[in-house]
Subunit: 217 residues, 2 copies
Amino acid sequence: MKNCYHSVIFKDMTEKEIETCLTELRATEKTYKKDEMILMAGDTTERFGLVLEGSVTIESNDIWGNRTILSHVGIMQFFAETYALLEDETLLVDVRANENCRILFFRIGSLKRLRSSNELWAMKFICNMLEISAHKNVVLSGRSFHISPRTIRERILSYLNTVSLQKHSTEFDIPFDRQQLADYLNVDRSALSNELSKLQREGVISCRKNHFELLSH
Amino acid sequence: MKNCYHSVIFKDMTEKEIETCLTELRATEKTYKKDEMILMAGDTTERFGLVLEGSVTIESNDIWGNRTILSHVGIMQFFAETYALLEDETLLVDVRANENCRILFFRIGSLKRLRSSNELWAMKFICNMLEISAHKNVVLSGRSFHISPRTIRERILSYLNTVSLQKHSTEFDIPFDRQQLADYLNVDRSALSNELSKLQREGVISCRKNHFELLSH
DNA sequence: ACAAGTATGTTGTAATTACAACAAAAGGAG
DNA sequence: CTCCTTTTGTTGTAATTACAACATACTTGT
């Protein structure tokens, strides 16, 4: 359990502060067997989990029987923190043990209880949560923005343009190979390759492997 | 400027606390003429804005000259708060005055400065920011999830399934008309109508206007 | 250098969608 | 009720994409 001290939710907190935090948030450990349900879509939760051992999957199961695996959560990563912060917000996904695992749960309770506490550990903790949430926000809105266009071409250009802005240059490397980029933009890999070829022939961009250059004129 | 006291970022704060907050965050008012640039993609910012008068647009302008309007921000709404929280995160969009407008800017500065303050106004303010951020998160991840499927049918079913989970029933009203639903799911309206008809003929769902029923059997 | 494996590019086809134009239905105002 | 407007459903066509199958280039290990 001590290893959780290095999680980002405890960033820049002293051991003493972390211990207070664990107590105040009534941190409790729990183990699950492979395939056991940890949190269920439709429920609400005041707890969020930190994976200490093993891993869990976030999945969506609709009433017609379709299952979609949305993500894996590994050691030192957490899940459901957004739902724990917002009471009344119903979970839209299931959380299931991907293998035998050990989870540390934190009870956030309502935000209201924390608001009236003006202790330093609480301040630090909330700030960490805010930073994590803001980061997630950037990632989500970026992706949402890139898959909004309906054509592959527009998605590519939208993505490349934002990377260019981030790197402050019209020439840069991207952190994806073709398959990963295709997955990120939600398109077929071969169709992506095809469109990249077209864009190059038309002189809109130039690329070799991960390296891209945007040709504006 | 006093009207800003009713913004959600100051929720449950006393007048005194709000005034401290305005001072500490060096709130300053600024006016912009129509079409004037307020924040530019590629920059970073430590300030976020609250619209006091008029409105602004969030838009994306790429180096090939394509402009996309992403959203309008009206009175008492704010913008760029995520970027203000995360120093070093470069803005990926432009913020431009949609009409003559008056903006109240807040300097968040780095989160680090706020962390060490254990005053109540700071705690309340951060909690409010966290709640806002978490909410945005839910909205963004919901939409991202619904437009991830590649077919119209899957997008519809994904959306209806989550509404069903939220309403705890297989029968419910949705808050969109056809055009709005089409926009939300990023598909063509007529194609959406078409697919809804098919789903009804196949006995998967039943719907009349805004009212939907999921037929699992 | 070679072989095996992986990543990327190319092409043709079937499926899906966007788009446009129109028809039908539902509201709203007078 | 009638006219007008808005919303929703239908259909055909052109465009785009996914998919599969294959070709080429690039890696890696031996």
